[in-house]
Symmetry: C2
Subunit: 668 residues, 2 copies
């Protein structure tokens, strides 16, 4: 291995270019984190100049290497590299770091068109996204590769820091990656011993090598400023294909800043004009030319792009031949990459599922999953160790593992947070519509990942079962009260709480059609009877809410979701016997309903009818929007309790009788 990556002088120039682009961007913004870009520049340059395979002109190339900056606060490192590498990241944008409307926000925001694979910043998410990418790549390579045709054989490279390492999600995700033997992941840990509060020794003394070996990783330790060592370690990491690799790169934060290097203040504050000048002087860098890029550096990256282009062209030529030789696989490829879903999936599912027999919606969902798995090859998922309860398994689909990457069923383990983040990684990777299950109450464990799916507008489907106090015996720790509302309020998230088997079928079809945001399916533990005489009526779920029982002159509108729709229908019967006319509205999804035009909304909930009762076995918070000033909300304003669910229904007033009584009293 030669000492120089390209040549020693050029290497120095390029590393300093990366460092000072970052420094200048942060100086100009008067805000940002210079420590990581400066500390990581040496090995990041080696990675980008020698290992990373990409084509800036086709940033979506499926066999590109993925690069994830898990420590997203070092965003200027990424922006600088993307600019140098020729991605659509104009020079002027580097000068608009952290400004309104710029392409260079404070933390990297998913935009594959510009080479930004995923949104990072919330710590630990990048490395866990990478695990999802590694899983997806492993699966796709098994489906598509054939002798002589390595359609998918790239790596996923990650840079992560102390903060990522301390977050529980990194433990979960790396334990899972080790378990699955994801040899396509190469992570570089920027071990700079500095966190925001000071030296990491204040808080952190994991033996990282031992820790990662305990997860089954291949671990190497290097001096992160020794570029030859970094190159050698990267080569060895790639050679280890049966295990994920960690390179522990010991670095000095803000390397090159003569007075601030190695200090906590360099983590999250601009260097300031004096230190910037001093750093540039030390590096023989022009102090009067901010955002300076030497011509040699430009030329090197341009010529390197040319070399990479040859690899890209070779892959394209191979792929063209592959499509001829394996036309069926080529069709499957397109289907998966397009995340294709049959246009008539609603009807298929309604036809296949028994929509009459009282069934728990989690079981109806399980039946739907069997059918979807047949017709949607991109559909892939599992559960966080609750598949017998969540009914998420594809029967006969096999278990995904290193030895059997074709497995349709992912066993995420009791790792909800890593599951959520891995699903985000799969979604942005491509070729996968990921789904994952747990008890609804434990959505709290993965909430940061739901937010990120929403922020990135990714298609991810959550199968959250046991969706109310009707969990019963497990008691309040396992009974969601506030969770459904808490997800409804996240922008871009769609929550669907179906009322019966037919609504569950349509909910699944809707979720699979919905490409630009995550969908939450909230499903029952207990059996539910159909709410419509004709299952086809459930297709109105695509409007978010609809009338399931009408009345001539409407005395009151009962608005309910999920298991409370059937209860409300029962209440309407009781009220009818007393001469009170109740319209019953099933509202499986507020978000979908709110996307309809006002005329439709008013046709379902007439503005003139002020007597409205909302029935949902969850927190009343937020239902005032539909109950209105004169309405009544029948909800849960306390935690649940441990008892058989029928007892809880009585005690907490979620029976037809109780709803009818409360409604009658309210109308008086």
């Amino acid at each position: 291995m030669s000492q120089a990556i390209v040549d020693a002088r050029l290497d120095d120039l390029a590393v300093n270019t990366i460092k000072f682009l970052a420094v200048d961007g942060i100086e100009k913004a008067k805000s940002g984190h210079p420590g990581l870009p400066m500390g990581a520049a040496d090995y990041a340059y080696v990675l980008w100049a020698k290992y990373l395979r990409y084509n800036p002109k086709d940033p979506k190339w499926p066999n590109r290497d993925r690069f994830v900056l898990s420590g997203g606060h070092g965003s200027m490192l990424l922006y600088s590299l993307l600019h140098l590498a020729g991605f659509d990241m104009p020079y002027e944008e580097l000068q608009k770091f952290r400004q309104w409307g710029s392409l260079t926000p404070g933390h990297p925001e998913h935009e594959i068109e510009r080479g930004i694979e995923t949104t990072t910043g919330p710590l630990g998410q990048g490395i866990a996204n990478a695990v999802g990418m590694g899983m997806a790549a492993h699966r796709l390579s098994a489906i598509f590769n054939r002798p002589g045709y390595d359609i998918i054989n790239h790596w996923i490279y990650v840079i992560l820091g102390d903060g990522d390492m301390m977050e529980g999600i990194s433990h979960e995700a790396c334990s899972l990656a080790g378990h699955l033997g994801l040899g396509n992941i190469v992570a570089i840990y920027d071990d700079n011993c500095i966190c925001i509060e000071g030296d990491t020794c204040l808080t952190y003394s994991d033996d990282i090598k031992m820790r990662f070996e305990s997860y089954g990783w291949h671990v190497q330790m290097i001096d992160g400023h020794d570029r030859a060592a970094a190159s050698e370690a990267l080569a060895k990491a790639k050679a280890e294909t049966g295990k994920p690799s960690l390179i522990v790169a010991r670095t000095i934060i803000a390397h090159g800043a003569p007075n601030k290097c190695g200090t906590a203040s360099a983590h999250g504050e601009p260097l300031g004009p004096d230190e910037t000048k001093a750093a540039k002087e030390c590096a023989n860098w022009p102090v009067d030319k901010p955002f300076y890029i030497p011509d040699e550096v430009k030329q090197f990256f341009s010529s390197h792009a040319g070399d990479l282009r040859k690899e890209y062209d070779a892959w394209q030529a191979m792929f063209a031949k592959y499509k001829e030789e394996f036309p069926e696989l080529a069709k499957l490829w397109t289907k998966m990459m397009d995340k294709e879903v049959p246009a008539d999936l609603d009807d298929q599912l309604l036809a296949k599922l028994d929509c009459v027999k009282p069934t728990a919606t989690r079981a109806s969902s399980g039946s739907a999953i069997q059918e979807i798995a047949k017709s949607v090859p991109a559909f892939w998922g599992g559960s966080a160790d609750l598949c017998p309860s969540n009914k998420t398994d594809v029967k006969g689909g096999g278990d995904f593992s290193h030895a059997y990457p074709l497995g349709r069923n992912i066993h995420f383990g009791v790792r909800e947070h890593a599951m959520g983040s891995a699903m985000n990684g799969m979604a942005v990777y491509g070729g996968v519509i990921p789904y994952g299950g747990t008890f609804l109450v434990f959505c709290d464990y993965m909430r940061p990942t739901i937010r990120l799916a929403a922020l990135m507008k990714q298609q991810v489907v959550y199968v959250f079962t046991h969706d109310s106090i009707f969990v019963g015996e497990d008691g309040p720790t396992h009974e969601p009260i506030e969770q459904i509302a808490s997800m409804r309020m996240i922008p871009n998230v769609t929550v669907i709480r179906p009322a019966d088997t037919a609504e569950t079928a349509v909910a699944w079809a809707w979720a699979l059609d919905h490409k630009d945001g995550p969908t939450v399916l909230a499903l029952t533990r207990q059996n539910l009877s159909p709410v419509n005489d004709d299952p086809a009526k459930a297709k109105q779920l695509r409007k978010g809410a609809y009338i399931v029982r009408d009345a001539g002159k409407i005395d009151v509108v009962l608005i309910a979701t999920g298991s409370e729709v059937g209860i409300s229908l029962g209440a309407a019967d009781i009220l009818a016997a007393k001469g009170i006319n109740a319209r019953v509205v099933s509202m499986p999804s507020r978000e979908i309903f709110e996307a309809q035009d006002k005329a439709y909304q008013d046709s379902v909930i007439p503005p003139s009818v002020k007597k409205r009762v909302v029935v949902e076995a969850g927190i009343p918070f937020g239902w005032e929007k539909y109950s209105g000033d004169e309405g009544l909300i029948i909800g849960m304003d306390r935690f649940g309790a441990s008892a058989p669910y029928q007892v809880l229904a009585e005690k907490f007033g979620f029976t037809a009788q109780s709803v009818a009584e409360h409604t009658e009293a309210y109308l008086k």
Copy 2:
């Protein structure tokens, strides 16, 4: 070490009693998890019969050993042990497992009076609670122990399972415990190789010994059914006082069930009558006497309680002498155990803080913390690596560590989830009012622990800074939009978003007075000017909402929180110039306001005034309750963006001018 713990025959009888009480409870409930109680009975018996120090007649004895069943689904194990040990857990209650109103719910619910130290069930929480208990014990022992007076010298014992081990929070908490060298923690890992989906090898292959050694723990491996080995390991674990100890107990799930042992089905389903009978026959146990407790077993536990009583009496005698010898420390002890707070803390803080100068409420909070630390010795906390931003440090208070347990400042590391759970452990431990800081958006990382603090009604204070889009440059990943509302909806949680320094002072005093639930303080990054001419008016925060600017004839009521109160006051000025009379209401806490009588509520927001505008830089969801059918909500219905905060204020309409314009347009 003798083979027998007490005597071999009695040991067998006792272990079988524990097993079959659990089995019978679960059979009767037709619901529950027999696998863990049966698998753990051997070592759990050893622990309770030989090591655990307690007094069932004084379950709050401060120097008792703590026992935490982190795998809360094994609750019948705990209930059986509590009954045998003589706690207030009547025999009849064992027969009402998982029934309405019983003392034996599905998962253990915090009730120290009955020996239940903490609520468990959500996996990983118990072990992380235990870390908080260990930290609190370490601190209290340093404050109070004197030569010859070991006031606090007990252990914290934990049983945890595979699920706990897989959860990220267990990694975070155990990494922290190892870092802090918490030698008072002894954890037994029930390594039964079975999770809900089947064999743990489906999902999990951590080398647990290596993993825990990498965190700095002392680790032993035993056969979990070898009682002598368990006893020896417990003795060695106690002898290691510089490190937390893990005993990896290899067990067979549902040990003693001849056909179901070692299977996933034994994890979460009753054994069924046939297998119950078969198990009892194998053990020579009467099959026709459910809930059978042999007299010898009763006698043993009763006599053991007598032995423990002697230790307890000796401690009480020592403590009586201690109080005489160290009267100042005795006073401090009472103050801390009572979590005492000065009655006039409001006034103290208002007097000490500069309530005039425009200040970020996070900085005002930081100033308040300095004062509180002086007068509230139980007050103890830190930050998840953001103390320079959260302003949570007590200046000159020193850093808490193994070497300096008197340290006032806890460095939790980038471990929000473990921080939340450790705070819960400290709160239930006693003598501590814990507080912890992070950015508000990252409350999502610790949400399960906020829920548990609420469920257990514990006094925990969250210092969540950077509370809106006014975070600015860091961008949408760091800008909370939905978080404040998402916490308001958790039962028993009080969210306070103060509008200036004076309100921040009163908010802190309120939080410290509020003993039966957690309080969230939502604090700004940016400076805020005072909203009242007289700081004393901020004391009205204790009513949740109050008038900060009144109008004669009210044309419109502007209701705002936090930083938007000042903006609304500015808007009111602009409106006044146009002849529009706006009352401005500061509503720092909805929860506190809703606890006031209706007359007060109506005096602040007159029901007759239907023209209302709510202004909060967060999701509108849930504000309809206050805006009413005819109102306007000025909020954020999308994620934020990266830019200087003043730019975001303009772009998103959170300026006085914009609020005035929207209000004027709305009134027309």
